[in-house]
Subunit: 534 residues, 2 copies
């Protein structure tokens, strides 16, 4: 325990400082201060020792020199045991606490300040005091965050004006993290002034996961320091602890519904959407999404972009007596849940129920870490540059359905093909997808195969199945994430009944591809924007 | 231009300091120093002003107080224009350069020091001087890196002992980056002492890429500060600038050969290996890898783990008169190239030739960034926990081929299946793979389809094709990255002629899967280790 007999207070952010200083005074602590802080405390009736009386130096150079001195840093740094005699001989009286927060470099920078103003807002004395106090944490408390005052006051109250070493160690960690953040921001800002991008990323609040992508890999989940909102901030309302793969799949699920119209549902398996639907009724979009791949949907991760209603999730039949009718899923994530929906979902003990608003999930930058190197890019946010028929054959290419298809294909790992349709007027549905293939042909075939399976399941047995399938395919749009290198994809699509294709264009074979589409009576739109994702 | 009339030198790392100080002295600069540095300089015959004569303070508290003083920081910080009169009145004489590097916290930490020694190695005076000098860069040079001395000497020589503002700005950036690194290391170390993982990652040396994953995304490639080796350090010997997708595909290619036996070649398309072979002869492994997916291999990224020979890469027919015989690829990466191989590859103007040793590529941690959050996990380095037949049916399951199959499946995006074989005794080849699918059945079918295509191409027309295929499949191993949830995969594999399967096991359906394998006479090994990758 160290009794706080003298505290040096010099803060930019004056939040809560009067109450904190007043409490210190009550425990008999002498308050040393300077500049604006001194004035605020004096005006509040708190007795303050002017720092100049300790140092003998004036405040100089427009405030650039206020605290830095042999006297102050000695009072913070000397070893209270080994150096006690030397300190006494030099007339150094110990300071037991520094309360300091730094010039608001970040705020000034965010305000768009020019270089000279930025430079003026680089604090020199503050970090020196904080770092000296933190280094000598065995005897000194380094307080840098107004949010800590209430807890510190409680502890000071409990211990008659003293703090224990555990607390001082924790304050020390906070102080060095604070000065590390501060210099990180200065360094990257000055590099930016020189036109050079450098990045300094800090992550904290580790949550140990049961394991990583596989059981033999240890893993942690951390939050980026200082970020206003983070994927980390999701609320888990129910269910088993989230696993590493849950976190990545849920991210893909939320990304898939992020910029879709209200009432969209995505079903994710291994980071790819295998079911996806937008429309007016939440229960129906879930059913249509599920129908996109009703086998893979078991054990999937599901996200909605609207408040989840009970009638929607009753689709999972969680309370069915016949267990085989219950639809097992891993996670339901959404911006909110109606209480009745929540109660219903909680029937399944292990099901994770997560609140997160996918619209918050707007990273403007993607970061990929490759063995001590980083790829840093803009997120893929632009949907299309144009929407022009390149074929003589034209056919209604429903703009909303096309946008839905582009947003869907953008979420699939390349090479990716998706086939989308309107199962009824107000709905857009992913009918089949193919993804993650070295060859685009494979993806085209996978997407067609999935559509055929789904349409077979949908067929009511009346009329001819192949006619039913061809009609449905004919009303769908096939969307490709990148151009077709050869006309073969068009041929395969046509053979399956597809009559509308959207792709970015840009291949040296475009003319051949267009000619083939025209020969087959397939309408094709070029969007001008590729959507590779890996 | 600022003439360096007085320099304060206080360095932990004394490399080059005598020459640097001697040169400063020649330009008429007064050298101020302290402690060990002063002794070294004096012993070298350099005139040194003791810092104590400026400050009037003793060196105190076992060296904790040496430089921090009103006099020194004022001499660094005052504005040479606005504050000149005030400085003169206070008797402050300007110091124009600080040469300082910090206590070796990092080295001491890497040496495994305990907390008290770590704390002793937190420099307080050094960062204060450097930061003060850097803040006042318009008048002061902050020198923190011995590697800069030669260039600074050259500039001082050119400018009769002065440095220009561009240089001082650059030194300022370096100083704040240095103190940011220093406090980052202290902060994460102190958090680690408290048992809490925090991460601070810094990236520098941005290379602007033409664009990111797609043309509408801006992108940069950066190196992690302070990393001993980095993927960034590859040497590009020839060809067009590397693109974002080149960098990710090449990473996958190098990863795929990293821990394979000498002479392994990987062929990557969209981040997945579609061709892979290990064996004695480099030309042959390239041919066998290519044969794994000869259509997708066009436009691929290829990596070797041994020095590339001309006779191997002549396989690409880059000099064929018949252009259709030339095999277009994007990149060849390898630890080294024989000069003749290099000359041959340079025939293709756009082909990127990259030197990088894949064995350096041993990240022990994978980092995944998810909207202001980080997933941090051990890399997937453990191949198998066991290798036990779980079926009554046993058959030779060649350990080298099994290892090759596990290393291959580990590189494929989940759900992943690969079928591997020995095309001749000393070679292991990827015959077919399926990956990136929401449903394992799709991957099994894709891998079988690929094998059948490849075997058809290999068939010499003698005998029965199906018998030829069944024989080849019967000598292969099918490897699954994760367990089979149902026996259907076994049935499909068996129908295609597969007689050996390796999978981790661990499903609640294991017994049914094993029973089905036994009923069909398929031998199955459990490895105990799953290899999901997303």
């Amino acid at each position: 325990m160290i009794k706080i007999r003298r505290a040096l207070i010099s803060v930019w952010d004056k939040t809560g400082i009067i109450d904190f200083a007043a409490a210190l005074e009550r425990y008999g602590c002498e308050i040393i201060s300077t500049g604006g802080t001194r004035k605020v405390l004096k005006d509040a009736g708190i007795a303050v020792t002017d720092i100049q009386t300790l140092t003998g130096n004036p405040e100089a150079f427009g405030g650039r020199m206020k605290t830095i001195s042999f006297q102050i840093e000695s009072a913070l740094l000397f070893d209270r045991e080994k150096d006690a005699g030397e300190a006494a001989a030099l007339g150094i009286v110990p300071i037991d606490m520094v309360v300091c927060n730094l010039y608001p470099f970040e705020k000034v920078r965010e305000g768009g300040a020019e270089l000279p103003e930025l430079i003026e807002n680089i604090d020199i004395g503050g970090p020196t005091m904080l770092r000296a106090a933190a280094k000598n944490y065995r005897y000194v408390a380094a307080v840098c965050d107004p949010a800590d005052y209430p807890e510190l006051l409680r502890e000071l109250e409990e211990n008659a004006g003293a703090l224990n070493e555990v607390r001082r160690f924790s304050l020390m960690r906070k102080a060095f993290n604070h000065t590390a953040d501060y210099d990180a921001l200065i360094a990257t800002s000055m590099d930016a002034e020189a036109g050079e991008l450098t990045l300094r990323l800090a992550f904290e609040k580790p949550k140990k996961l049961r394991y990583g992508e596989n059981a033999h890999q240890e893993a942690q989940f951390l939050r980026q320091r200082g970020s206003r909102n983070s994927y980390y901030d999701m609320q888990v309302l129910h269910g088993k602890e989230l696993s590493y793969n849950n976190l990545t799949d849920m991210y893909a699920a939320l990304e898939s519904v992020r910029d879709m119209r209200p009432h969209t549902c995505a079903i994710i398996k291994h980071a790819n959407p295998c079911g996806l639907c937008s429309g007016d009724d939440q229960r129906k979009i879930l059913e249509y999404a599920w129908a996109g791949d009703p086998v893979s949907a078991f054990g999937s991760v599901i996200a909605f972009n609207t408040t989840v209603k009970k009638e929607s999730v009753e689709f999972f039949n969680l309370d069915a007596d016949d267990r085989s009718r219950r639809k097992f899923i891993e996670i339901v994530a959404a911006p909110a849940f109606e209480p009745a929906a929540l109660d219903y979902l909680k029937i399944h003990k292990n099901l994770r129920i997560v609140v997160y608003n996918p619209r918050l999930l707007l990273p403007k930058k993607d970061l990929k870490f490759l063995h001590n190197a980083l790829l840093y890019q803009d997120s893929d946010l632009k949907l299309k540059a144009k929407s022009e028929f390149v074929t003589k054959t034209r056919r209604t290419m429903d703009p909303e359905l096309l946008d839905f298809g582009l947003k869907t294909v953008r979420q699939l790992k390349s090479n990716a093909i998706c086939i989308v349709r309107r199962p009824e007027p107000d709905y857009c549905q992913l009918l089949g997808m193919g993804c993650g293939q070295p060859n685009r042909i494979n993806s085209t075939e996978l997407s067609i195969g999935r559509c055929r399976e789904n349409l077979k399941a949908e067929w009511d047995g009346n009329g001819d199945l192949e006619t039913f399938i061809r009609n449905a395919m004919g009303e769908s749009i096939l969307v490709s994430d990148a151009f077709f290198p050869f006309p073969d994809n068009v041929e395969i699509a046509h053979a399956a009944g597809i009559r509308c294709i959207a792709q970015p264009g840009g291949s040296i074979s475009d003319e051949k591809v267009i000619a083939r589409a025209d020969a087959l009576g397939v309408a094709m739109v070029f969007t001008g924007i590729r959507h590779f994702k890996h």
